[in-house]
Each structure stands twice: as structure tokens, then as C-alpha cells.
Amino acid sequence: MIRIQARTEPSALMKFVSPLLAIVLTLIFGGILFSAIGKSPVQALQVLLIAPLADSYNIGEMFVKMGPLLLCAVGLSLCYRANMWNIGAEGQLLAGALGGSAMALYFVESESIFALPITLLAGVVSGMVWAAIPTFLKLRFNSNLILTTIMFNYIALYLLIWAVHGPLRDPQGYGFPESAMFSDATLLPTIFESSRTHIGILFALLAGVVGWFILTKTHLGFQIRVFGADEPAARYAGFHGKKLSWFVMLFAGALAGLAGIGETAGPIGQLVPNVSPGYGYSAIIVAYLGRLHPIGAIIAAAFMAVLYMGGDLAQIEMGIPVAVVSMFQGVLLFFLLACDFFINNRLSFTNQATN
């Protein structure tokens, strides 16, 4: 008979090795899967993981994808550290894209230097509002944050779709569900020539550092960690649980909103129905892969961005369906949770016959 027993002293080292182990297991699994559908596993993994880093254009594209992933993941890391199960980064991202884009369209004729900051701010505030509603519902009515944030993801998506079919549709756009192209005054400047990499990635890296700074250096971050690790202790110490909850949720909402407007005012340049290929959801995996540590999230976001890129390349070069990316993400999370489980627990095989 197999029993599960908690380990008395889980290895501290393994907590950091676990993500690597999960990645290796995912790759092995992927290799087997590719052989099963008749593709060379070596070539597939090469396209999936190496090719995205092979030339400067691809690296630039990798940064484009890494930005929103990282922004969302840093916010989520703080939320999860505080035991606030915010699954709503996707909705907050879309709200940011919608709110920010509405502002950008207001400036569509403008050349003001304030146009871009105000547009970004509009995106940030929209993301915060979208995070605030479920937070309020949880703190006031004790509603389940996981459920409400997921619901708000769909509400945000359909609001956005409604907006591009209605009020924000480009009047000269031949009826396509897209907004007008933004003015250059509201577009994020690119960093390199001939690449779509824009300064959003710098925002994201900055967010990672700020998140790390808050968590490890400030009293606020300490309170967040205590609140998440041991709520009775936080109450005993006299920390304001509600204020901490509000802080992490609004912080996450702000970053996700920035990620959203960073997409429409960045590589896309207009509001379209598919702003995000599920960045807000993938960011959950990124946050866990980064051990809920903002600096860890930087590395994890880079990996996830490579996977996104690799998925595109695999489709182009080898005809592997792009759904393989989602599957890889799912398998990765599965292995990560499994590794964590076996770090904290062990199986013991007991022989019942000894009785």
C-alpha cells in the first residue's frame, strides 16, 4: 500500500531546484510527444527553445512577450505571497488595454508630450479599478476571490470586444472590429532599431526590482509576507490585513493594466480583440515558476516568453500546432506542482501484512 507522508524537513535547496526539475521533465515529456506525432524531438525542441534566441530579431520579439508576462507575474507574486488568490491578471490586463486605448484614441490627433504618460496612466488606473472590484467584494462580502477574478476576466474580455465593435471602432476601418491606429504621440518608443522591443520591457524589469525591493526591504513587504504565511500572527502583531490586501491587489492591477496598455500602445498600435494570448493566465505559471519571488519571476518570464516564441516558430517551421504552447504551459505547471508536492511529502510503501 502506498501512503503519502509529509516530510519533516523539506530540503531548502530543492525548493529552488524544483522549477528546473519541472522544466527538464516537461522537455522530456515534450520530446516523447513530438516523436509520437512523427516530428523529430531534437529538432522540435531546438525550434522551441533555441531558435527564439538565435537572432537579434527573435530576441527582440522575446522581449516583447516577456514584458507583459513579467508585469503580471510580479503583481501576482505579491498577491500570492499575501494569500490573495488573484486569477484576474488577464482581466486586469484587458481592462488596462481598453481604458488606456480609449485615452489613446482621445489623443489620436495630438502631438502633446503628455499624451503618452496620460495614456499609460489611464491603462494603469483601469487595471486597478478592475482589480478593486473583486477585492472590495472579498473584503466586504467575503466572496471567493478566485471565482470573482475569473468572472471579471470574461467581463473584461467581452467589454473589450463590445468596444471594438462599437464606440471605439475605427470609422474608416471598413467595419473591422479594430480601433484607429494610435498617434505616434501615444506609442511607446522602441529601444532598438528594426525591432518591436519597446520600453515596456524596461517597465517590467523595473517592476521586478521594485517588487523585490518591497518584499525584502520594506516593512510593508514584511507585513505582506507575514499576512500570507500566518494570518493569526499578522492579526496578533496588529497588521492591517485589509490594507495589505488592498495594496497587493491594486499593485497587481496597476502592473497588469500597464501590461495591457503596453500591448496596444506598443507592438500592436491599436485596440484589437486579441490583445493578449493569455498573458494574464501564463503569468500565474510564471509567478510560481519564479517561486513567487519578483527576481525569480524575471527568469521565469524570460523562459515563458521563449516558449511563446518557440511555439510560433514551431508552427511556421515544422507545422506543429501552436496549441503546443498552451499544452507545454499546462504540463510545466503540472510538473512544477508535482515536484513541489514531492519536496514536501514522500511516498512510503508500507506492507499491511506485517500486522
Binding site: H219, L220, V226, A229, Y236, A237, G238
Partner: protein, 515 residues
């Protein structure tokens, strides 16, 4: 002396367990006969916990053998220990809060055992009555006080008809009457042939009930004795080596100015099985310790939560600090006004288990270590080191996680942290529960020192001896009522014991008298 040529129930041969930086058990040998009640004595960190965990299969020894009924066994896990017939009641309980008592007990039974028992709830009720444990199988664990939870743990072992029962400080949360009841249970079990390994710090209990005692110090067996041939003082000496005797009474003080008072406080319970506070009224004076006796679950937890502000309901006009109402303030604001607390639960409330001692020092002591929102980690580290050395907290260092400390050492740390804030008012629950003689002495000294510096102290404890030793004035709680307050020298254990049983309620609250 019983020297029958029986096979021993349990024999340990040179058990050794090395932890990084600490030899927890050093070639420990001991023998337990069937039906023997054997005391395991020693200070915190002497290796008692490691030894019993080894017997219970939680810890695997590096060297040495365990013989069970004369046969060598390897106890790799608690389930193997349970299959052998070893039951254990831990110091930190391991119950699922969201399950009922019955479900909790069911969880640790195998299918065959469950089948043999049949109706578990009925069995629990039956044993509960037989042993006077007062355990209702349908109640949820989260509604139970610590004392009640311990009874569930004992019940859990009784249900499995054990051959060796290990009790880690079983009496620390029971009233004198309940202790007597428990001892009846233990004596009955002993007569039925069940061996009992009994860890306690209350030496008079050990001399009362135990047949033999093994004394550990620094991981080694330093002595064995027959407790009823010894006195508590002589055993204490064996435990701590040669430390000052703690029998000497302390000087009583009389405070003058009222620092804190609770005014006609009545509060319904938040939980279905909690205690309703009724007309609580008392005052704390500067330079004085008020002791509150009472059995667990009579309103102590509720009272403490209201005073600390962890219970966030507004009781503005019922709590006053230096004449100002504070009942509407948030827990953090009350702390900033100079209130400090030592809670009953050390791990999980008084300290965050997975955080280092430095971080746990910062938990409530942030004064002077926060500059414009930033934590002065170096300052905290130095402060933590000073706490560790001042209160002789046994640990690897300020980076040790709180959960790695033994109960008594963690308590010394928490005490030191709260006292280190120089509070005006210290609310302190069960300060020496599970703490060894030497550490208890240190904690007592620290409390008295704080009192003499002019702090007002509320001491909630279930240890009457300790209350009489420390408190300048005494009171008792029962069923959410607080008894009158008297000066300690004007009362005696009998009167307080009766108050703990609620005899004062009739005279004070005739309309709500309870049988």
C-alpha cells in the same frame, strides 16, 4: 521494587541522534516494563522530544536499537509505531481544525481498526464517560480550546487500545480536578498493562504518579530514580544540575495608579462554541501583576482577543488605557500605545513558523527598526542576537526558523521580545506552559523585573502554583464571568479553585446562575 522476570515492553539501547550542530540524543538506554508509568525529565533541549519522536517513528535514530516486547524493531514511521501499539499525545497538537472530533480520530485509524470498533462516535462517547474526558464526537476541532484539544489527542490513543502511551506534558492545561481524573485514567491503563511514558515539568505530579524516572541533560541520561523516594526539589536538582532552588517565594507588590481597566464588558461569542464574556470588570495597576486562574475554554481566549484588538469588534467605552478609551482602536494602534501580549499559541500566532527569529522579532517589535518604511535588517539582527543571549534561547542563531525551536525556547524568545518593548501593559497567557524549570525561572524573573519597572501585567494561567508565586492580586474566570479580585495573600488555593469552578457566579449573578 518489582523485579519480575518479564519481557520489557520497550527497551532502548544506546540510541543516538545527531542533528546539524547538536547531538540531540547521546547513547540513550532505558527500559520500560508493561504497566510501568515512566517519567522522562529534563530541561528544554535536553533531548526528550527527540527521544520520544524516535520511539514514535517520527525521527529515525543514527545508531542504537529499539526492542519491543523483547524483539528488535525498526520504527520507520508513526503508522508502524501505531501498528505496534504505541500512541502519542504531542505537545503541539496535530488535529484538523475543520473536521469534527470523530473525523479526526477516524483519520488515524486503519480500516481493520475501524471495522473492529464499529460505531466510532459511540465508542468515543463511551470512553469519554469511562475516563471522564468530556469529549463530544460531533464537535468541530476549531471550536475547542487547547485543553479540550488535548483531551481529543488522549482519546485518539485510547480508541486504539494502546500498549505504550507517550504523553508530552499532558497535565499542563488541566485543572487540579482534571489532573486527578487523568491520573485515574493513567492508573487504570497501567493496571491493564499499558506502559506510559510521561513527560512533565510538574515534578510533584511525577512523584505522585510515576514508578520510575529517567533524567536527561544535554542529550544524555544523567540519572534515574524512583520518584516517590525523592522530593520535587531533589529531582529538580538532578534536572538542572545545581541551579538556585525555585521554591523561594517572590516579593509581592502593591500598585497604586490604575493603568488599564476593563469596564462592564459583555460580548457575545464569535464562534458557535466560544464563550460569551459577561460583565467583565477589572483594573491593572502599574507595578502589579493580576493573575487570572481558570480552566481552558472559560473565556480566556476571548478576553485576550478583545483586549489585544484581534477581535475587531468595537468595545470603545469598555477598555481604557490611562483613562483613554481604546476599545475602538486597531490592534496595531493599541500596541503603539504601549500594550504587549504573549499569546497562548506560540507557533502560528506568537511567531511565524517559517520565518527566522530576526523576522519574528520584527513581527511585533518594529520601533526603531523602521526608517521611512524600510527595515533596518542589520539592526534587527543585532537586536535578535541580544534577545537570544539575554534570555538564553537555544538555537543556531538569529537566522533559525521559529519552528525549529523547542516550545520553551520559543516562549523565552517571545517573552523577551514583548518585554523588550517596555510595555505599559503586558497581557500574558500561560507564560511557562511546557517550559522547563530553568526556563520558567528565567521567565518569572523577566516578568517580575518588568513589574518592578512599573508595567501593569495581566497573567492568565492554568497553573495555580505559578499564579500564587507571581501574582500580586488574584482572580478566576468561569463560563465568561470574572470572579472578584483579591490580594494574593488574602486568598488560598481552595478559594481560587472554587472560583474556577464558578461558585462566585451565584452570589454575583443570581439571575444567570447555572447548576
Amino acid at each position: 521494587m518489582k523485579k519480575q522476570h518479564l519481557v520489557s515492553r520497550l527497551e532502548l539501547v544506546k540510541l543516538t541522534k545527531q542533528y546539524p550542530g547538536c547531538l540531540a540524543n547521546d547513547r540513550i538506554s532505558m527500559t520500560l516494563m508493561p504497566g510501568e508509568i515512566h517519567a522522562l525529565l529534563g530541561e528544554n533541549g535536553a533531548g526528550k522530544s527527540t527521544l520520544v519522536k524516535t520511539i514514535y517513528g517520527v525521527v529515525s535514530p543514527d545508531k542504537g536499537d529499539i526492542l519491543w516486547d523483547g524483539k528488535e524493531v525498526v520504527i520507520k514511521s508513526p503508522s508502524i509505531a501505531r501498528d505496534l501499539g504505541i500512541g502519542m499525545v504531542f505537545q503541539h497538537f496535530s488535529l484538523f481544525e475543520t473536521l469534527t472530533i470523530s473525523q479526526n480520530i477516524e483519520l488515524c485509524l486503519s480500516k481493520t481498526q475501524l471495522h473492529e470498533i464499529g460505531d466510532l462516535a459511540a465508542k468515543i462517547t463511551e470512553l469519554s464517560q469511562a475516563y471522564g474526558l468530556n469529549v463530544d464526537p460531533t464537535r468541530y476541532v476549531h471550536t475547542l480550546s487547547i485543553g479540550e484539544r488535548q483531551r481529543v489527542e488522549i482519546m485518539r490513543c485510547l480508541v486504539q487500545s494502546v500498549k505504550l502511551l507517550i504523553l508530552d506534558e499532558p497535565t499542563s492545561v488541566l485543572t487540579p480536578q482534571e489532573v486527578a481524573g487523568l491520573f485515574d485514567v493513567l492508573r487504570t491503563l497501567s493496571k491493564e498493562g499499558c506502559s506510559i511514558l510521561f513527560i512533565s515539568h510538574k515534578l510533584h505530579e511525577v512523584t505522585e504518579i510515576c514508578h520510575k524516572a529517567t533524567i536527561l541533560r544535554g542529550g544524555k541520561v544523567v540519572d534515574t530514580c524512583v520518584p516517590n523516594e525523592e522530593t520535587p526539589a531533589s529531582i529538580a536538582k538532578m534536572m538542572v544540575g545545581d541551579l538556585a532552588d525555585q521554591e523561594a517565594g517572590y516579593v509581592k507588590r502593591e500598585g497604586t495608579t490604575t493603568v488599564f481597566h476593563v469596564d462592564d464588558l459583555s460580548l457575545p461569542s464569535k464562534q458557535p462554541f466560544g464563550t460569551v464574556l459577561k460583565n467583565i470588570q477589572f483594573e491593572l495597576k502599574a507595578g502589579e501583576i493580576l493573575g487570572v486562574a481558570g480552566v481552558a475554554g472559560n473565556g480566556q481566549d476571548e478576553l485576550m482577543a478583545v483586549i489585544s484588538g484581534e477581535d475587531e469588534r468595537n468595545v470603545k467605552n469598555h477598555l481604557h488605557l490611562k483613562g483613554e478609551p481604546i476599545g475602538h482602536l486597531h490592534a496595531g494602534e493599541r500596541r503603539r500605545l504601549g500594550m504587549a501580549y504573549v499569546p497562548e499559541e506560540r507557533l502560528g500566532r506568537g511567531a511565524v513558523p517559517d520565518m527566522s527569529l530576526s523576522e519574528n522579532a520584527l513581527l511585533t517589535h518594529s520601533d526603531g527598526f523602521i526608517k521611512s518604511g524600510l527595515v533596518d535588517w542589520q539592526g534587527i539582527k543585532d537586536y535578535t542576537k541580544s534577545l537570544i543571549s539575554k534570555y538564553k534561547v537555544k538555537c543556531h542563531g538569529e537566522f533559525s526558523e521559529a519552528k525549529s525551536l523547542s516550545g520553551g525556547n520559543l516562549q523565552k524568545f517571545i517573552m523577551g521580545r514583548e518585554i523588550g518593548q517596555n510595555p505599559n501593559v503586558l497581557i500574558c497567557a500561560h507564560p511557562t506552559w511546557g517550559v522547563d524549570v530553568g526556563a520558567a525561572l528565567a521567565i518569572h524573573q523577566a516578568l517580575l523585573e518588568l513589574r518592578d519597572k512599573g508595567a501593569a501585567i495581566l497573567l492568565i494561567s492554568e497553573d495555580i502554583d505559578e499564579l500564587f508565586l507571581l501574582a500580586d492580586r488574584m482572580s478566576a474566570v468561569c463560563d465568561g464571568y470574572l470572579s472578584p479580585v483579591v490580594r494574593t495573600e488574602h486568598t488560598n488555593i481552595d478559594q481560587i479553585g472554587q472560583w474556577m469552578a464558578g461558585t462566585f457566579i451565584n452570589t454575583h449573578q443570581p439571575q444567570e446562575a447555572q447548576a
